[in-house]
Symmetry: C2
Subunit: 639 residues, 2 copies
């Protein structure tokens, strides 16, 4: 019995034969899921079974097929409760995305794409998830990207009910309403059971009231009726609101002994029960035997590459030059360059749209000029950072350049896990952190982001640039907008000097340290704007007859080993950074040098070694021993 072609709702209602075909497929898909879990001896069959009609219908109606799943202009599907992966794989096998035998055999096995939670390597999966609460935010990001690309599509987000308590979901709901994303449709698998028991015993939450309070259309639906789900999905958005389907379901539905039992949230059934359920679903215990046999062989279905989205088509314009003392803050230079590139590309045919996300910080992060020049591509999100981090990451996977400018503590400390998931998803998020280090002005320690180098270093894909001056900031801004992958640029709050070195024909090269001063008696490696402090320290040292080299480091994650090798010859190496002294540039240099057997002579590491105080940035740095005078003194003491 062939599955009916129901993509994009060709009919008002499903026919009886459509429903029969879907039901037959769902039986096979459930057995695929159960077989995967039993073959792997690990997985989550309960939710896989309760969500099955939702999965089958969504992948049926969505404008998302094995043929178009790598295109940009199409529908998107996010499975937020990623632990139901076996169920999702069962369903998409029915719709032809993956071979069913491969899925049944190679779940949660080394070398297989059918990993623990859904992942983008599998065609049909638009987002790797697994940490609850992020899916709806991603759906918002996809929908914003669709709109920016002039595509009037749908985004489906399937979620569990237990995770409805995560605060990030509420943030995403409000973003969707604020931006009028009527093509966004959420489906909740409402089975009232979660890992350790009944939902209402664990944490009551009035799901319907909350979605409605945030302005969504909430529709209660039988989550096991193909007809009901189809019709509700078809009608979604009709009232000009984003829509959530509250799908009443039974945990483990159609799984005999599994039905309604919390225990099967996360464990396989016994072999005996497997046999009974397999028979009930139209096959036999033999299905598992065959899967186990095939499991001994290597997976052959390798899925797809999920490398960073390819380089966007944008004109990055001509850099501005800044020269002079305290000529601009780096965030200001960023804001000007961003607006310049924005204007050059806004609504130009064939250009990749640039979306800029904001959390009520325009005057501080300097994105106002972009907002004024490109109003439709400026996305105001309110104070909802978790949701924004995920949404901007997802948007970057759907054909836009996606940039979020934010205070350091909110753009990475608060949303570290969201940025980690962006990394796992190989997103192309551009996060511009302002007010990093002690350079936050008077706000004090809760606002001092002194760990961004370390946090980025924990992830394997992110690039990080900490520019030295407004000239470099301008050039890095243009570079990052054009460069694929997750990239973070981090700048402080204060005005700094514009250095001649970075003007004119200077071109930014990722990973290169810049030698700003030559000296034979020692070398200072300085992170970002602290290179300007180091230059002043070097002048002070020079008056004492001590000549030091100064290397400006703007790419702390990739130490410039040739610069280090050169510096070592001076016999004295110092590092300075407006960052936790234990976890930043100095720590990275020490490790990479030790790995290569390079000894950093008389190594002195200066940086933030306690939470800073509140005061003007010069005073706060001075208290930390990071003024030019104190750095020079430290160098002399270390000789």
């Amino acid at each position: 019995m062939e599955l009916p072609d129901i993509h994009k709702f060709p009919k008002e209602k499903l026919s009886q034969s459509d429903i029969e075909a879907l039901e037959q497929s769902a039986k096979r898909a459930r057995l695929t899921a159960l077989t995967m879990v039993n073959a792997a001896k690990s997985g989550h069959p309960g939710g896989a079974f309760s969500s099955m009609e939702m999965f089958m219908t969504v992948y049926g109606v969505a404008d998302l097929t094995p043929q178009n799943c790598n295109d940009i202009k199409r529908d998107y599907v996010v499975i937020s409760h990623g632990h139901t992966s076996a169920g999702v794989y069962g369903a998409i096998a029915e719709w032809g995305f993956v071979p069913v035998d491969e899925a049944r055999a190679h779940f949660r096995q080394i070398g297989s794409i059918f990993q623990g939670h859904v992942e983008r390597e599998v065609p049909g999966i638009d987002l790797g998830t697994g940490n609850l609460g992020q899916g709806l935010s991603a759906g918002v990001g996809f929908a914003l990207a669709q709109r920016a690309n002039g595509h009037n599509g749908r985004v489906y987000v399937v979620m569990g009910d237990g995770g409805q308590t995560k605060g990030q979901i509420a943030e995403a709901r409000r973003m969707a309403v604020r931006h009028n994303l009527t093509g966004l449709v959420a489906l909740i698998d409402w089975n009232d059971i979660q890992l350790s028991g009944k939902r209402l015993d664990i944490m009551p939450c009035d799901i319907k009231a909350l979605w409605e309070a945030d302005g969504w259309e909430a529709v209660e639906t039988d989550g096991h009726s193909f007809g009901a789900i189809y019709e509700a999905l078809k009608d979604a958005g009709r009232n000009g609101k984003p829509t959530v389907l509250l799908c009443k379901t039974i945990m483990g539905k159609d799984g005999l002994i599994m039905e309604g039992i919390a225990d099967y949230h996360g464990k396989p059934v016994s072999n005996d029960d497997y046999a009974k359920i397999a028979e009930h679903l139209g096959e036999s215990a033999d299905t598992l035997t065959k899967a186990l046999e095939k499991r001994k062989t290597k997976p052959t279905f390798t899925g797809r590459k999920i490398d960073f989205p390819s380089a966007p088509n944008i004109d990055t314009g001509t850099p501005f030059d800044y020269e002079g003392e305290k000529v601009s803050d780096n965030r200001g230079a960023f804001g000007k360059a961003l607006a310049d590139v924005g204007k050059l590309n806004y609504k130009k045919d064939g250009r990749t749209p640039i979306l800029v996300f904001d959390c009520d910080l325009v005057p501080s992060v300097m994105t106002g000029k972009f907002r004024d020049a490109c109003p439709e591509n400026f996305i105001q999100c309110g104070i909802q950072e978790h949701s924004v981090a995920t949404a901007s990451g997802a948007a970057s996977l759907a054909g836009v350049v996606s940039l979020w400018a934010e205070f350091g503590v909110f753009g990475i400390d608060e949303v570290y896990n969201q940025q980690r998931l962006n990394d796992i998803n190989h997103a192309g998020n551009k996060t511009v952190l302002t007010h990093v280090g002690l350079d936050v002005g008077e706000d004090g320690k809760t606002h001092q982001c002194i760990d961004y180098v370390s946090l980025m270093r924990n992830m394997f894909g992110w690039k990080l640039v900490v520019p030295v001056d407004p000239n470099q900031t301008d050039r890095v801004t243009r570079w990052l907008l054009k460069t694929p992958g997750d990239i973070c640029m981090a700048v402080g709050r204060s005005k700094v000097d514009g250095l001649k070195y970075y003007t004119g024909s200077y071109t930014f090269e990722y990973g290169k340290a810049d030698k700003l001063r030559e000296g034979k008696d020692g070398a200072i490696f300085a992170l970002g704007y602290t290179a300007q402090i180091a230059l002043k320290s070097a002048e002070i040292l020079s008056t004492k007859g001590v000549e030091v080299s100064v290397y400006a480091v703007s790419c702390p994650l990739v130490p410039d080993m040739s610069a280090i090798a050169e510096a070592v010859k001076t016999g004295h190496v110092m590092t300075i950074e407006d960052h936790n002294v234990n976890t930043g540039m100095g720590a990275i240099m020490a490790l990479e040098s030790a790995r290569k057997g390079i000894v950093l002579p008389k190594l002195q590491t200066l940086g933030v070694d306690h939470y800073g105080e509140s005061g003007n940035s010069d005073a706060v740095r001075d208290e930390m021993g990071l003024s030019a005078e104190k750095v020079a003194n430290s160098f002399m003491e270390g000789r």
Copy 2:
């Protein structure tokens, strides 16, 4: 005019003269706030003015005074919108917590306790805040601690309206209702203006509907009427629900030119305007002149020490011994020890209560035995990690031992910023991370917490212990329950061997590496359970005639430099860790050694150098090169 004594609501309504006295005080407090901001040339006067009647009333009615503010059994006050600090300081100066002249002179100045956002060094401030959205969660924690201590008090949480969009607040609301915290009272400064404009332009959010949907009693109140606020506070909780006062206010109220202007959210007024406002508030421009004069002198009011809460009074019992191959998982040993200590102290006179927080993970994090033995001290919180991280931290500041057991990725990656605020607040949170490293079973990379050492290293106060076996896990569990300060213990999922070394009279000592094997040809430092892999690698190497020492490291944040100095003599040092190889124990050892001029010969660092796959833990480790065989091979290659 003396302020009336209204602590704990001695009367039904305020009298006319009470109100007049409060109004007069509020004028002075507003001028204190404005003077602070103008003297510092930095701060947030708008919200300070709009919240003033709320601040004055809350500090008036609360059972919180300069005399009892260091006690445990009293009311607690949390100011969630910490940027209104100048207003708070103005108000508490009126209630005698701090000297008004000191506050007016020394705001946001190095060496002063009156820092950028409210901080616990200031008497009357129960929580240092500044990152929006955390205050209500802290209030929940204080209320839970009060109850555990048998104290029937109130907790007041004052919040802004802009930050109402933060998802964490919704999580806290649900925790309060789930645990029936009717003494918890929230007040929202509803002035409809935030940093970059009008609240409804930035991110609409139906504040009242959301609080009600989560089960709170929401009361609309005139936020500038002392009488109305007093009466509403007095009535709070009457209907058996936690109560929120929606206080309608005017941004910059009573500040003439400031009224209703978003711009004064975060900047001082001009000197001319200051003079006009000062006169309007009953003083003159002279107030600022005096403050600026005094600002040139050193602050004399030093506030209070906020060292870690003192050691709790609990009986930690007698450790259990485990011996044999794969005798227990470390999380199981933790669960047993926790239940043992729980039982010994539960409802015993004079003992410090032990609260255990859970996010729907009992069967996985093994806190079920504690829950069964100490049901009233087990706090089920649902899948709401941000709120729990803050709540458990706050509870630890209010006279309980507060422990949260959680998967690594949710207990630190997802809530890194909340744990950072716990650190800044010198809390005594005990966070037990399970399923860390690749040892999460088949869940795959989204669930592999490979960065916990690095994240803890970013903070200055946290201790971290990664036990080697069930015996050490048992002993560390008992130790951390009794030891002040924020402490994290991190364990994997798999069963491991019980080592004789850690049985019997072995006592855990923070910072000491354990030499488990002696060898002259090299030394392996291994983090936590990977010491057991290292021991097996050492046996393999021994069959090749190579004898290596094995040092088990359970305290990676404090490298045992004497062990390192000893190991260096063997001429070959290797590190192994189930952690990001760039940011964990090896990185710390490399930096600390380089600082001391110690060269780690032939350093090899083994660990996680890409996101792991999904499979059983042995297979996943093997893929990463961390099996005993592959470690031994790597060592031979590095000779």
